[in-house]
């Protein structure tokens, strides 16, 4: 079993383990809640380990893995939307996302509050801006790599990055994120 036709399964597994923490954070960002993030990440790992997603070596392994996670999360979102539609269930994703974050703000008071504020501010940004900021600031990817993960041109990614960063600063400075 191999992920790219040449790399042994053990090596691929080692790469996944090395990226696991980052991968979970990115999956968590792409999904509505923790449970969904775990589903998405598990599905991604299975795709890679079973060779259904092949690493072509055109980007760094982590960048490629993030792109696979983003695609898998989008598939899950589509399925969830249709499932909710069938069950006549309507929900505000942003509300759930914020509520989840606020619940998670634990005892570590000051830092947790600052992080919660950041989360709330991020939640008010458009999805693309939120994605690029997450990739650049949280995962420390370059804007070019972020563009690869988001499947957009580098120019588009730069635009989202600049606008998102400016908006985030304003929100954090004025406390409008509340």
């Amino acid at each position: 079993m191999s992920a790219d036709g040449g790399q042994p399964a053990g090596a691929v597994r080692d790469l996944l383990v090395a990226c696991h923490r980052d991968a979970f954070a990115w999956a968590r960002h792409c999904c509505r809640d923790r449970s969904e993030a775990e589903d998405v990440l598990q599905a991604t790992y299975l795709k890679v380990l079973e060779g259904r997603a092949e690493f072509g070596g055109r980007a760094a392994f982590r960048t490629w893995l993030f792109a696979v996670i983003a695609r898998t999360a989008a598939e899950h979102r589509r399925r969830r939307f249709l499932r909710d539609l069938l069950a006549l269930r309507w929900g505000d994703e942003r509300t759930v996302r914020c509520a989840d974050v606020i619940d998670g703000a634990d005892a570590d008071a000051e830092k947790a509050q600052a992080v919660a504020r950041l989360e709330r501010a991020l939640a008010t940004l458009p999805a693309r801006q939120r994605d690029v900021l997450q990739l650049v600031f949280h995962h420390e990817l370059t804007v070019a790599d972020a563009a690869t993960v988001m499947a957009v041109t580098i120019g588009t990614a730069r635009q989202h990055y600049a606008r998102g960063k400016a908006r985030l600063r304003t929100l954090l400075a004025t406390g409008e994120e509340r």
């Binding site: 979970f24 923790r34 589903d39 600052a114």
Partner: protein, 131 residues
């Protein structure tokens, strides 16, 4: 929001990065282990319920389709005789013209037509030539 919290506001990339770093530490602490994640049952209960809902919806759609197919489509095409019976009932707009201007041909009286002369007895051409 208190004053010291204002201090952590992002005035430059470094401040933003510091905020994100704190967030990263918090998320990292909640990360499940690789093995635990991979060995958990595939998909959660919600997804399985979703799968069941899909199957139920597909079955319902199939039944509805079958009922429509059986009841909605005519069992046979209309017979030619039925169509022929229906044709005389058709009245064209030009039928009114025939009714308003009774032509001799319509009345069956051909004598008034210019071509009625063709129906007379032929002139005896031989006798007229000898005279």
């Amino acid at each position: 929001m208190s004053g010291d919290q204002r201090e952590v506001r992002a005035d430059d990339d470094a401040a933003l990065r510091a905020l994100f770093r704190a967030r990263r530490e918090r998320v990292a602490a909640q990360t499940p282990s690789f093995e635990a994640l991979l060995s958990r049952p595939h998909g959660n209960a919600r997804a399985r319920r979703g799968g069941a809902a899909w199957r139920l919806a597909a079955a319902a759609a199939a039944i509805a389709g079958a009922v429509l197919l059986v009841r909605g489509v005519p069992r046979h095409a209309p017979r030619a005789a039925d169509v022929a019976v229906a044709l005389p009932a058709i009245r064209l707009p030009s039928d009114a013209l025939l009714a308003a201007t009774p032509l001799p041909s319509a009345a069956g009286d051909w004598s008034s037509l210019p071509s009625a002369v063709l129906g007379r007895a032929p002139v005896d051409l031989a006798s007229s030539r000898t005279r």
